[in-house]
């Protein structure tokens, strides 16, 4: 499966350890249904939804429990059936008080009335995007951008390619890999639904060549489907970054400060495509997803979890920590390159959480930041072509003008520079802070 399609720069994190994927990539996905779930209202990018149930209410599976707010708003659905215990703030990964609805599971899994559209090839085209919105689907690769907004093609814009991101370049995670093996037909259905909704002729499923079985399964599923092709990509981080993927698949670059649609491309995660297929074919909202639980747990697995399941329940389901509790160093939601560290084990998972990775204390030791030796490894690694070591000096000096003039706003926060730096300099998170600061400043200037 030799393929040299790739971008400039990038790194190979955990290359010797098969990117940390080997413990889970060969194990079939299991269903997991927790006793109680805390479904957050703000799981997508955009304003959090408004809860529309009261404690004590009985909710059915798939019932709307949060009404969408604003242009980027999405409805939130009950992921289990049972009694609402609480409507109030819970600790989430990056918000100490995230509004959430906690539901006690009665394990009956009674569905609300569903309104399926039928087969993806014959269903009415104009109802696909409303169905995607009603199902509460957001990007399931991590950024959680509401999917129906991606499909909002403005006057003068058009889309000619939809790319399904099955690269899964992040370390440790194998949820997309397992999904491609187990639900390959559903993924292609979702892609076809998306293509029909926007009258797109070309659909590309992009997969890194470290997953030959997934490439095979998807190629088989794509056979005879109109305009769908599978494209193997070189294994390199961040191959699955949206900008890199568009560059590799179409040869186009998203101009700075523009969106993929400006170069006539929409990128969707394979998980999102499967959710679209479920929404169209069965009318089911997005209430469950596959998540990889790995690292220092006794039984690393891929679980099909209900949205809102807490990290502690998942770790218990995977046999618990593989060492004493006090030697647990870090619990990361997501892969090692971009994941968020969890402040507690009671954090609930959102629609976009693709993994839980447990590190022991020794693995999560913070390395001391030493002087930059200007070796240029960060310059070679940056997939965007920035000069990270220089940007870091500007961040340290708080020089927003210099940083933005040196294109810090184009940084995709992939972590490659921090990963490769032999002086252990803290680059990526400094850039993220700087970007947020510049964005806040720009907003202030406007308002």
């Amino acid at each position: 499966m030799a393929n040299n399609r790739t971008f400039r720069g990038g790194v190979h994190p955990l290359h010797e350890a098969h990117e940390g994927k080997s413990p889970t990539s060969g194990v079939a996905t299991r269903d997991f249904n927790a006793k109680a779930v805390s479904i957050m209202m703000g799981m997508h990018l955009g304003a959090p939804s408004t809860p529309c149930v009261q404690p004590g209410d009985h909710v059915k599976l798939g019932q709307v429990i949060g009404e969408p707010v604003g242009f980027l708003g999405l409805p939130v659905h009950a992921s289990v059936s049972g009694e609402v215990l609480e409507v109030g703030p819970v600790q989430s990964v990056n918000n100490p008080a995230a509004m959430a609805v906690t539901i006690k599971n009665d394990f009956k899994d009674e569905w609300v009335e569903l309104h399926p559209l039928g087969d993806v090839e014959t269903c009415p085209v104009d109802q696909i995007v409303p169905a995607i919105k009603a199902a509460g689907i957001c990007g399931m690769g991590g950024a959680a951008f509401p999917t129906h907004v991606k499909f909002a093609v403005k006057e003068g814009q058009y889309c000619d390619t939809i790319i399904l991101n099955g690269a899964e370049c992040e370390t440790h995670l194998t949820c997309d890999h397992r999904l491609m093996l187990e639900k390959s037909g559903r993924i292609v259905d979702g892609l076809r639904a998306a293509m029909r909704a926007l009258n797109v002729k070309r659909g590309v499923i992009a997969i890194e060549d470290n997953k030959p079985d997934a490439i095979e399964a998807m190629t088989k599923a794509a056979q005879g489907r109109n305009g769908v092709e599978v494209m193997p990509l070189q294994t390199k981080y961040p191959q699955g970054g949206e900008k890199q993927l568009i560059q590799v698949v179409t040869g186009r670059e998203v101009p700075t400060k523009k969106l993929p649609l400006d170069v006539h491309v929409i990128v969707l995660n394979v998980g999102t495509a499967a959710a679209i297929a479920d929404a169209v074919i069965e009318g089911k909202p997005l209430i469950s997803r596959i998540t990889t639980i790995t690292g220092r747990v006794k039984k690393p697995s891929n679980l099909r979890i209900r949205v809102g399941t807490r990290v502690e329940d998942l770790i218990a389901e995977c046999g618990g920590f593989s060492m004493d509790r006090e030697h647990v160093g870090k619990i990361v939601l997501g892969g090692a390159m971009t994941g968020f560290p969890a402040p507690s084990t009671r954090v609930p998972l959102a629609k976009a959480n693709n993994g839980v990775v447990v590190y022991c204390a020794r693995e999560s030791v913070e390395l001391e930041e030493t002087p930059c030796i200007r070796c240029g490894r960060c310059v070679d690694a940056c997939p965007i072509g920035l000069v990270p070591f220089k940007l870091k000096f500007m961040c340290e000096a708080g020089d927003m003008q210099a940083a933005s003039a040196n294109n810090i706003m184009d940084c995709v926060v992939c972590g490659s520079c921090s990963y490769i730096c032999p002086a252990h300099r803290v680059l990526t998170s400094a850039f993220k802070a700087m970007k947020d600061q510049i964005a806040a400043e720009a907003k202030k200037g406007k308002g």
Binding site: M337, F340, I373, G385, M394, E396, A402, N407, P422
Partner: protein, 339 residues
Amino acid sequence: MKLNLSPAPHVHTNQSTRTLMRNVLIALLPCAIAGVGFFGFNALMVLLVSTFSAVAAEYLWQAATRQKVRVGDLSAAVTGLILGLNLPATAPLWMVAIGSAFAVVIVKGLFGGLGDNFVNPALAARAMLLASWPQYMTRWYAPAGLAAVDAVATATPLSNPGGFTTLQLILGSIPGSVGEVCKIAILLGFAWMLYTKTITWRIPVVMVVSTAVFSFAFGNDPLAAVLSGGLLFGAVFMATDYATCPMTAVGQIVYAALAGLLVAVIRKFSDYPEGVTYAILLMNVASPVIDHFITRRVYGHGWCSPARWPRCWTTSTPTKRAAWRCSWSSAPCSRASRR
């Protein structure tokens, strides 16, 4: 259970400053062994004194200026050993120690420490010694092995072209600096640094090829030009100094090609028989300019994005001036942040 909340990325490459420097030290070992083999006990003393005085100077400088002492990163040891390998085995030891201290304190420490020096410390120290004590720096003796007692003053291959066979030039049984004579040892070190990904092939290969091409163009024997003097040693160990070479692949190729041209020009047209030291030093001070003009194109930007040069020449909004200032030299930014 106390959970660590440090931000992504949560994994890190195994390379650190210390392992990189350790790999350079290992790569220098064959040269050191060959040098001691050819020039005997004197050479050993020169290497020991240069290395340990560099480490001592770094320790004293960092302690005296109340910085965190970082001799453990081995960068001072590398500087000292490279300087020692650049000196004749007959160099007086007091001069060696002064050279090491100059390299570490004046060239590196005073300009901000590791990574902030604008020329290669070992080479700058060699140039200083050459200017200050030329009588000791140009006193060459034929290698006589470990048993050497009464060495005989002689001429190097550069001032006496044709006086040595190619085999002699490759093996290293010729007069010269301690580390530069044995080309096989240098190539062994190069191979080790490539294998451990400490450096890339670009600068050494391009610089050597460029010297050969331009020497040929100026009417000299390209093979002799490559094998004589400190060219190979300089190209492998000194032109590749991280802090003083350009950052981008294209920039490094330009830098190395120009350095090779300078070597050929100095050797052919100046009174100096050897040009590697000054060629690399000159390209060191030119590398910020190369880095300014030769950059990677930023994704989603054209070749003329605001931070690139054509507009910087012609426009002068505050943003662009800031970009100009900061990409020309990191000094105004880095200085403010180091306090």
